[in-house]
């Protein structure tokens, strides 16, 4: 089934964004101290859907918050009461603008772990109620390697509407899901945009695909980093005992930043805060790079050394998650490398390990 593609220009896109913001609960990248984070916006002026990838934080917290309340409780001499927390602020119908393709893929990758066996209905409800507008990058950043991974940016349906820059100022809005298709049709403005598949003009309708392809080829040519993910998957699976993990992780300060900004990392912890008789229980981000992550009450810790934690982190991304759910737990966004205070890149780590001698 093919979905509609609309053509417009910069002015038309801005008008569409403005219309969306005025009619729907909308989130978009908002700048603060040079960094962009997804926030609820009330006008296009507040945000930048074309924010630079390297400075834009993941959209993941809109679906999996950095810290969320599990419950409140009250305990006193008359007993204990568990109270519902406030209504989920992320569960309503909403639109997110300016999501990067890699970041949207991250959400799709997370669907797998949230859908297997016990179903995380909160996560899935947030996903189902969100329409994602994704801007396809024109140029790769220093640490980007999305085109080297197990997904096709041209067909990716982790997003609902892809926004692609064409030639001569043309901008294509390509619906990638049924949800995106309906939304686009309902919200498109006939005066500034038209559906290429429905137009009577044959030239216009056949050329848009070529134009999008041209943009994609130029984009793929801009990558500094390239790898064969299948080769990395296979080789890493045979390198559990490789000393390369030790070499690659030597400089790590275990700050966990890489996990906290990652679009696919999903480890969390449960913690209580109590003041007198009332308390709150939180679910918040945690990381396998944290030395306390696997520390048991009795003192035993299966991963007391950095290289073991890095082995878990990189094997989880390129071997274990793939074995379990069929996809890599990495989308090639490069944010971990950008944010790392000691300049470690997951790309370097997995390639270093993959190219080290195999364990006997």
């Amino acid at each position: 089934m093919s979905f509609s593609t609309f053509v417009t220009d910069k002015t038309g896109l801005q008008k569409l964004y403005e219309a969306i913001i005025s009619k729907h609960e909308t989130y978009a990248p908002v700048e603060k101290f040079g960094k962009y984070d997804y926030k609820k916006v009330s006008s296009l002026k507040e945000c930048d859907p074309d924010s630079p990838i390297a400075m834009t934080m993941s959209v993941k917290p809109l679906f999996f918050p950095r810290a969320s309340k599990i419950m409140k409780y009250e305990a006193n001499s008359s007993g204990t009461t568990i109270m519902e927390t406030d209504e989920d602020p992320l569960a309503g119908k909403r639109v997110v603008l300016g999501v990067k393709h890699c970041d949207a893929r991250g959400l799709q990758v997370l669907d797998a772990v949230n859908k297997w066996d016990y179903i995380d209905s909160d996560f899935l409800k947030r996903r189902a109620n969100t329409v994602i507008f994704s801007t396809r990058c024109d140029k790769a950043d220093t640490h980007c390697f999305c085109t080297s991974l197990d997904y096709d940016l041209e067909k990716l349906d982790a997003l609902d509407v892809a926004v692609v820059n064409g030639s001569d100022g043309k901008i294509y809005l390509q619906a990638r899901t049924g949800k995106g298709d309906i939304f686009l049709k309902e919200n498109s403005d006939q005066s500034t945009m038209y559906d290429v598949q429905n137009t009577m003009d044959d030239v216009r309708s056949t050329k848009y695909e070529e134009d999008m392809k041209k943009q994609y080829i130029a984009f793929t040519g801009s990558f500094r980093l390239k790898m064969d993910y299948k080769d990395v998957n296979e080789k890493m699976a045979k390198r559990f005992d490789s000393p390369a993990f030790e070499e690659a992780s030597r400089n790590c300060v275990s700050c966990n930043t890489c996990a906290f900004i990652c679009p696919t990392c999903h480890c969390f912890k449960i913690s209580d805060e109590k003041i007198k008789d009332t308390g709150v229980r939180y679910k918040s981000y945690d990381s396998c790079n944290n030395v306390y992550f696997t520390l048991e009450a009795g003192g035993h810790n299966p991963r007391p050394a950095k290289f073991r934690r890095w082995r878990q982190r990189s094997m989880h991304k390129f071997v274990y998650y793939k074995e379990r759910f069929g996809v890599n737990l990495c989308v090639g966004c490069g944010h971990c490398a950008i944010s790392c205070p000691v300049n470690i890149s997951i790309f370097d780590v997995v390639n270093h390990v993959a190219n080290s001698p195999a364990s006997s």
Partner: protein
């Protein structure tokens, strides 16, 4: 809102001091209508909250064949368990999520000889299966329990062990690490007693074992020497867990979620996991 992680309230009905640092907490649902709905299999675990201190993973140490309550036997080890021991009293309320995880392979052990090998608090998960099997005694052949602890004071479930001893269809072998004046049973570590005193029949026997890592290590070696096939040796793993639901990523070993695919594994399955322990 994190629907999956909200616990249900239970009342502490009874606290039994098992050893100087182990207590069994007998729990009943605050909302009694939930009692019937809460069903579990031997080997499963719950997430146990002392609200304000935190949540910990404990196996259910009683069998669902004993109705109206369930037990968690808790050793004082870390921050939350220390708070549980010092703060929690009979009549107090705790939060419970579960039951989670897989369970002992009830179909496979049917019709077999059962040999339980436990050490210290490791008897807790075995106890749920021991009770279950005693309550369905006709389904099994020989029934042997080998249980050891460092000292006689460290043996859990002393009263219940006396009952097991009185049961003529159950053979109970006890041991402690070092001799004590009043101790009349075996002395020596569990693997030694297993090989020298129990001398189990290999054919048609399933071994179910749990204990401290060092005991497990040497017990597995003994069972190997005795000629048990790894598929006939069943154990239950202890791993740091938080969600218990296969989401939080804490208990992963390779692509296995200990909380979902386990905690019960055969020795054969354990050997196939990446060597992280």
């Amino acid at each position: 809102m994190e629907t999956l992680l909200v616990p249900t309230l239970c009342k502490v009905d009874r606290i039994i001091q098992e050893t100087p640092d182990v207590r069994t907490y007998r729990l009943k649902f605050k909302d009694e209508s939930l009692t019937e709905k809460f069903s579990w299999q031997p080997g499963q675990f719950v997430e146990f909250s002392l609200l304000g201190s935190g949540e910990c993973t404990f196996c259910i140490s009683s069998s669902a064949t004993r109705k109206g309550f369930f037990d968690c036997s808790i050793k004082r080890a870390g921050i939350v368990t220390a708070d549980i021991h010092s703060d929690l009293e009979e009549g107090d309320e705790v939060g419970i999520r579960g039951p989670y995880g897989n369970w002992f392979p009830l179909d496979e052990i049917k019709g077999k000889n059962l040999l339980f090998v436990g050490g210290g608090i490791g008897l807790a998960p075995l106890r749920s299966l021991i009770q279950y099997a005693i309550d369905n005694r006709a389904d099994y052949k020989d029934f042997t329990i080998l249980y050891g602890a460092r000292t006689s004071a460290d043996l859990c479930y002393k009263e219940e062990i006396e009952e097991w001893k009185k049961n003529t269809s159950v053979k109970v072998v006890l041991t402690i690490d070092k001799p004590e004046d009043t101790w009349k049973e075996n002395v020596g570590v569990v693997p030694k007693i297993l090989e020298e005193v129990v001398k189990p029949e290999i054919a048609n026997t399933k071994v179910i074992t749990c204990g401290p890592p060092i005991m497990i290590k040497y017990t597995l070696q003994s069972l190997d020497r005795l000629g048990f096939a790894p598929k006939d040796v069943i154990t239950t793993l202890e791993m740091k867990m938080q969600c218990g639901l296969g989401k939080c990523g804490r208990c992963n070993i390779g692509s296995t979620y200990i909380c979902k695919d386990g905690p019960v594994f055969t020795y054969e399955q354990l050997k196939a996991l990446p060597d992280e322990f």
